[in-house]
């Protein structure tokens, strides 16, 4: 006699719900979800109870098809739990285990109710395994999607990190560049710099590339465009922060930066001061005066 696994599972979950819940919360407690202290036991129990109740209803309404309409509210609940897990910093294993640890108490209950009928037990176990696996995967999908969302937002925040133009002295600006210079970012950088040149009536702008990890032809081209635009505005540019390995690489690439360049920002600042007719002098008499 072949048994309908869905029927066996439905009957078992409905009749034995209380025992399954007890077994499940015990399993959740043992699995270490609580030990990290990210969630309280009462909260975990409430979630378990809600999920199990909806699972029972979903089995009645949608059978084994976890993607069907009958499972909509259960999927939604699991998605909420997954999302909050992702934000609370749970590991993927912890999150997946929330559903997967339901298997043991369900199988246990199946064994109790269908111990006498081996084919019913097998059918029930198969049905339970199938639907719970699908639900577990669903929680993982939502978990990963939430993580991706977080990563995507961080990426945007990094891209939008403003590139500040710093005023070093009257008429001397510095533009410290950090990270990858792509076309979009160069546009922002150039705009900021040109506006600052107007606002500060700057004569000299120092572009510092100490924080740019790789200078390839695209970065060089962006730099050259920025320098050319600044020149048209009447400001001279100095490129600083060219490290030895970058210098060698640029020579091999064949890129020529037709601008004054210096190894460090300090050197560039000294040049800028000199060009604007200034000089930094150490006060030699200060210590004697104090005596």
């Amino acid at each position: 006699m072949t048994m309908d696994g869905t029927e066996v599972l439905k009957r078992t979950v409905t009749e034995d719900e209380a025992a399954i819940l007890v077994g499940w919360t015990a399993a959740l407690r043992d699995s270490g979800s609580l030990q990290s202290g990210r969630i309280r036991e009462a909260e975990l129990q409430t979630q378990a109870k809600a999920v199990l109740g909806q699972f029972r209803d979903a089995l009645a309404a949608g059978g084994l098809d976890a993607d069907s309409e009958g499972y909509a509210s259960l999927r939604e609940t699991l998605a909420d739990i997954s999302r909050s897990r992702a934000i609370q910093g749970f590991t993927p294993t912890d999150t997946a285990n929330f559903v997967f640890s339901l298997k043991e108490p369900v199988f246990e209950a199946l064994r109790r109710t269908s111990a006498a009928d081996a084919s019913a037990l097998a059918a029930g176990v198969w049905a339970g395994g199938k639907v719970l696996d699908r639900l577990g995967l669903h929680t993982m999908e939502v978990f990963l999607a939430s993580r991706e969302e977080v990563i995507g937002r961080q990426g945007q925040e990094i891209a939008e990190l403003s590139t500040p133009v710093v005023r070093l002295w009257d008429g001397i600006l510095a533009l410290p560049l950090i990270g990858t210079l792509d076309s979009a970012r160069t546009g922002v950088v150039m705009e900021n710099l040109l506006q600052a040149i107007v606002d500060e009536e700057a004569e000299i702008a120092i572009i510092d590339i100490t924080g740019v990890p790789t200078v390839d032809t695209l970065v060089a081209q962006h730099l050259l465009k920025t320098v050319a635009a600044a020149r048209l505005m009447g400001a001279d540019c100095i490129v600083s922060g060219i490290r030895p390995q970058i210098a060698q690489t640029m020579v091999h690439l064949g890129v020529e930066l037709n601008v004054v360049s210096k190894a460090t920002l300090a050197d560039a600042f000294a040049v800028a001061l000199k060009r604007t007719g200034r000089k930094v002098v150490r006060q030699q008499t200060s210590t004697e005066e104090r005596r």
């Binding site: 990858t180 792509d182 990890p213 790789t214 200078v215 390839d216 032809t217 695209l218 060089a220 081209q221 030895p244 390995q245 970058i246 060698q248 690489t249 091999h252 690439l253 064949g254 890129v255």
Partner: protein
């Protein structure tokens, strides 16, 4: 010559180019390249990855750590299924560009590498292989 480690990275977006650079730098450090050589191979990889993306319409990079006797090296193969290059000599010429770049990428990548090999079939795609030895 034996390949001791191999991996393939996609080159399908601007972010992938950044990832290629980071991965190549990590592999260059792994085989013990000095800072200058690291920078050279990373820059060459950046040029070729951007070519793959901009002119080849996207493709893959295969990175291999190769060993010949006592020498270790990093070999990178960029492959795309794009329109290909009709005149390779012209493409290799400095300051020649079919796009809007400086026209130094291919020639620069060659000068930054110990080995350079390019093959292209118009209409079928382009494959560029470079290697840097320790």
């Amino acid at each position: 010559m034996t390949v001791t480690k191999a991996e393939t990275l996609p080159v399908r977006s601007g972010d992938d180019v950044v990832r290629v650079r980071q991965r190549v730098r990590a592999l260059a450090i792994e085989i013990g390249l000095g800072l200058v050589d690291q920078t050279k191979i990373v820059t060459a990889a950046s040029e070729l990855a951007r070519n793959t993306l901009d002119y080849g319409g996207g493709g893959d990079m295969r990175a291999e750590i190769v060993q010949a006797g006592m020498r270790k090296g990093l070999r990178l193969t960029f492959e795309d299924q794009g329109p290909g290059i009709a005149d390779i000599d012209q493409a290799m010429t400095d300051h020649y560009t079919s796009g809007g770049g400086l026209g130094l990428g291919l020639g620069g990548a060659k000068r930054l590498s110990n080995e350079f090999h390019i093959e292209s079939t118009p209409g079928a795609g382009t494959r560029v292989t470079i290697a840097r030895w320790k």
